[in-house]
């Protein structure tokens, strides 16, 4: 009856859709001049540094931030037959096996890899991924609290279950937060496959508090951070990063003479982030150039103050605040990616029923 109007409208809708298709595919003509980097939301780089790369290489860099670290990896795996970009940056050692087992990357040996510390090269045999940065997940403490209560801050996993630190620690849900998972893996590395459950039972008895994400733990519950102070946080110990104390100094106005927080150096778990050339990438040449750039000294030295991580290239400098307030841990806990892959789901499950239920 009123078919005609609707037909017209439908045709109109069709046109909109078609033109949208057109604009969606429009990029392919210029594909060889554009290289697309897929990453997570924390990706950041100084404008001038990226422009240097574009000038030197002749490629325009298109960045696609695709959710938090886990989400971005999962989306990349789902779309690997027809990827959204050429290079993926931001898969860490806790997710590495998932990415490699699913064939997310193709091999490429980056220029300048010889400058990268051997400890970080977890796929050295096949070169499917290139290490870019590392960081440590450690317990941070509120200096003011421990000063006021004349208490020595804890330094090790074993300290955290001692009675003088009862009801002081807040951590994150291991199933939803990457520092939360890191802390769990660190304890598993420290106490072994069977011992960690015992350790967590003691932690629970000692009043550990668990919240969903890092934001809530660090900016609301923790008493030492700028955000936590404002929100009335009352836990002087929090699972965060070794680079958090420098961040407290760099982002403070006016700058304090010293960091308000410190790191319990015996509670650290090392996280290494990698980049790789995506299988089926449209612009492999550009992708390779981009990976070379990521391990170049210029990018490596720009990285710490943008993403609060440490460079993997030997001899790359870091800002003074980093060496002073948040030096990388000397002997962090580590765990092989395939061991993490084999155990994480089971561990997270038992952790959840042990600590949360």
């Amino acid at each position: 009856m009123h078919t005609k109007t609707f037909l017209a409208a439908a045709v109109g809708l069709g046109l909109v859709t078609l033109s949208a298709c057109g604009s969606g595919n429009g990029g392919s003509a210029a594909a060889s001049k554009t290289v697309t980097l897929v990453s997570h939301d924390s990706w950041a780089v100084s404008k001038s540094v990226l422009q240097d790369f574009e000038k030197q290489s002749g490629y325009k860099v298109n960045v696609l931030k695709d959710g938090d670290a886990g989400q971005a990896v999962n989306k990349a795996i789902l779309t690997k037959d027809n990827p959204q970009g050429d290079v993926f940056f931001g898969v860490d050692n806790t997710l590495l096996s998932r990415a490699l087992d699913n064939g997310l990357f193709q091999p490429y040996q980056a220029k300048g890899l010889d400058q990268v510390g051997k400890d970080y090269q977890l796929d050295a045999g096949k070169h499917r991924v290139t290490p870019i940065d590392y960081g440590d997940i450690c317990v941070n403490y509120d200096k003011a609290y421990f000063g006021k209560h004349k208490l020595t801050p804890p330094t090790s996993y074993a300290d955290l279950v001692k009675p003088q630190y009862k009801n002081l620690l807040v951590t994150e849900n291991a199933s939803t937060s990457s520092p939360g998972l890191g802390f769990l893996l660190g304890s598993a590395a420290r106490y072994g496959d069977s011992g960690w459950q015992d350790y967590w039972k003691k932690l629970k008895d000692n009043g550990v508090k668990v919240v969903d994400g890092w934001e809530q733990a660090y900016n609301e519950e923790f008493s030492g951070s700028a955000g936590g102070k404002k929100a009335g946080g009352d836990r002087p110990l929090v699972v965060s990063y070794a680079s958090s104390p420098p961040a407290e100094v760099i982002y403070a106005d006016p700058k304090p003479s010293t960091a308000p927080t410190g790191v319990a150096t015996g509670t650290c778990f090392r996280q290494i982030e990698f980049a790789g050339l995506l299988s089926n990438a449209g612009n492999t040449k550009g992708g390779k150039a981009l990976i070379d750039f990521l391990v170049s000294k210029e990018f490596q030295e720009d990285m710490p103050s943008n993403m609060f991580v440490y460079p993997v290239v030997e001899g790359a400098g870091v800002p003074a605040e980093f060496t002073e307030y948040g030096p990388a841990a000397k002997n962090p806990e580590t765990m092989a990616p395939d061991k993490i892959a084999a155990n994480r789901d089971q561990w997270v499950k038992s952790w959840t029923s042990l600590v949360l239920k």
Binding site: A10, V16, L64, G67, K75, L78, A226, Y251
Partner: protein, 532 residues
């Protein structure tokens, strides 16, 4: 009929089927055994149980709180009624992340209750239940109140004359007439709370998880696609059954009732009882609905208008563009989504309204509601793997966002248009045709004048819903073009005062835009338009 079917096949059924297949079909082998596996796990059963009981509790609580209001809006006449009706509807179209934040500001650490009495409700089930009442209050008020205002009060009066007590008359006369509307409203609330995501995610903490949250965790964090697929199927079946019952109650509701114009049934409150009821309703609205919104506005003004000014500043670092740009993006997306929703929904409603519509077509009515009950993460991931090849490589295209938003807009358009279209007398069209009018002219001169207002109301609702859509948009919105709710969520996830303040300011802007849209709708409202 063909166009809406094709639309749903391509943009809903196919992506969802693609992601479910990916989970259950490994290397060409179907693993249906997983269904029994997953269903047998105790923590999954725990999630199912929590999902169900919190939905039941939320529904009961919402009915308890909102039914008196439905009466007040239907039968009592008081100044500011129209504005108030728009105000109670605002929460319904607000994005969950904004509501979650408002409730955190009210019942969380350092919130109003904490400051006044030291009471904290976050990470308790009470915060979830309260937020659910906040969201769904309008569903009950509008669905039940809409019918109540059109029931002829003289029937009840007649029963009184014949010696029935007030309660008896209400129970014997009004309640039976209202029952289908109450049932329909209850089912909608149950559906919305059963599939609740944002509220539980923000207010529930690590311990509470609904099916929808669990699907999100399994897909997005644990990457266990087969468990996610099984849960999606479970939720699909549950929602399908709810909708089937809902469709049945709707058909019963459309049975013959003596309806009168709503203006004639409302009168000024009389007697202490009615005044007390009205005061109670107003107080509830103030505490439950207005207070969280007021807290939001209050926090957005924390630095004078500083947070609002900061919205125009691109140097914040959170986005590539100034946050205020997200308002423009949102409006553009919402206009496109509204156009799509009105065309698709209008076509579907026209097909459903035909008297010769078969059983199959009527079944499609319920099918159209399904996007409301399917996890947004499933749709989002489904888009990502299904729409990735020419001619439908839409992953990088802006149209993806309006398409996803239109999916949730269509059900509202259909619900609004259907009753009106059904009410158009076929004989009018036949008479016009006999007199020589072309089909186009019949549509223009007979149908259009009668449905024009309904069409506007439908478009308005689709617009408001698209504006607030969050779940699917967050997966597919491009980083350079965030929508308003996505921008709010991203600002909230960043540390620092300024980001928090800007999130509040953006939320306030969103709220005002929604409120204005709804107020305009109130003016357009006719007694014939559907409830939602």
């Amino acid at each position: 009929m063909l166009v809406p079917v094709a639309f749903f096949a391509v943009f809903f059924a196919w992506p969802v089927a693609a992601i479910v297949t990916r989970g259950l079909n490994v290397d060409g082998v179907w693993r249906f055994g997983r269904i029994a596996d997953v269903a047998g796990q105790s923590d999954i059963r725990h999630v199912l149980w929590f999902t169900t009981w919190q939905a039941l509790a939320s529904t009961a609580l919402t009915l308890l709180v909102a039914l008196p209001a439905a009466y007040a809006f239907a039968r009592l006449d008081f100044p500011g009624k129209q504005v108030l009706r728009a105000v109670v509807t605002v929460p319904f179209v607000l994005p969950t992340v904004v509501v979650g934040t408002a409730f955190l500001a009210l019942v969380g650490r350092g919130g109003l209750l904490d400051a006044l009495w030291g009471v904290r409700l976050d990470t308790t089930v009470w915060a979830i239940l309260l937020a659910h009442v906040f969201f769904n209050y309008a569903v009950v008020v509008r669905t039940v109140g809409g019918l109540w205002s059109q029931l002829d009060p003289r029937q009840e009066e007649a029963a009184r004359m014949l010696g029935a007590s007030p309660l008896g008359a209400w129970r014997k006369v009004t309640l039976p007439a209202l029952a289908p509307a109450v049932a329909a409203a209850a089912l909608m609330v149950f559906l919305f709370t059963f599939t609740s995501f944002g509220v539980v995610q923000i207010l529930g903490g690590p311990t509470f998880s609904t099916l929808e949250v669990e699907i999100y965790r399994q897909t997005s964090e644990i990457f266990d696609l087969s468990t996610a697929a099984v849960l999606t199927i479970v939720q699909f079946v549950a929602v399908g059954s709810i909708l089937a019952v809902h469709a049945w109650t709707i058909r019963r509701r459309e049975s013959a009732l003596r309806l009168v114009a709503p203006e004639t049934t409302a009168r000024r409150p009389r007697g202490a009882g009615q005044w007390a009821l009205l005061a109670g309703v107003l107080a509830t609205v103030a505490v439950l609905l207005v207070l969280p919104l007021a807290v939001l506005v209050r926090r957005s003004l924390g630095g004078g208008f500083g947070y609002y000014r900061a919205l125009g500043d691109a140097d914040g670092g959170t986005f590539l563009v100034a946050p205020i740009q997200s308002v423009v993006n949102s409006l553009q997306y919402a206009v496109a989504a509204t156009a799509i929703a009105v065309v698709i929904g209008g076509l579907a409603a026209a097909a459903l309204a035909r008297r010769d519509a078969g059983r199959l077509v009527r079944g499609f009515d319920a099918l159209l509601m399904l996007p409301l009950g399917v996890s947004a993460v499933t749709v989002g991931f489904g888009f990502l793997i299904a729409l990735d090849r020419p001619p439908l490589d839409l992953r990088q295209s802006w149209i993806l966002v309006p398409l996803a938003q239109a999916l949730v807009g269509v059900p509202f358009v259909v619900r609004t248009m259907l009753p009106v279209l059904r009410a158009v007398d076929e004989r009018l069209r036949e008479a016009a045709a006999v007199l020589g009018a072309s089909p186009w002219r019949v549509w223009r001169e007979v149908d259009l004048p009668m449905v024009r207002r309904a069409l506007l109301v439908a478009a308005g609702f689709a617009f408001a819903v698209s504006l607030g859509e969050f779940g699917a948009t967050v997966f597919i919105a491009r980083p350079g073009n965030p929508t308003l709710p996505v921008a709010v969520a991203r600002l909230l996830s960043r540390p620092g005062d300024l980001n928090y303040g800007q999130a509040m300011a953006l939320s306030t802007i969103l709220m005002v835009v929604c409120a204005v849209a709804l107020l305009v709708l109130e003016r357009l409202r006719t007694d014939r338009t559907g409830e939602f």
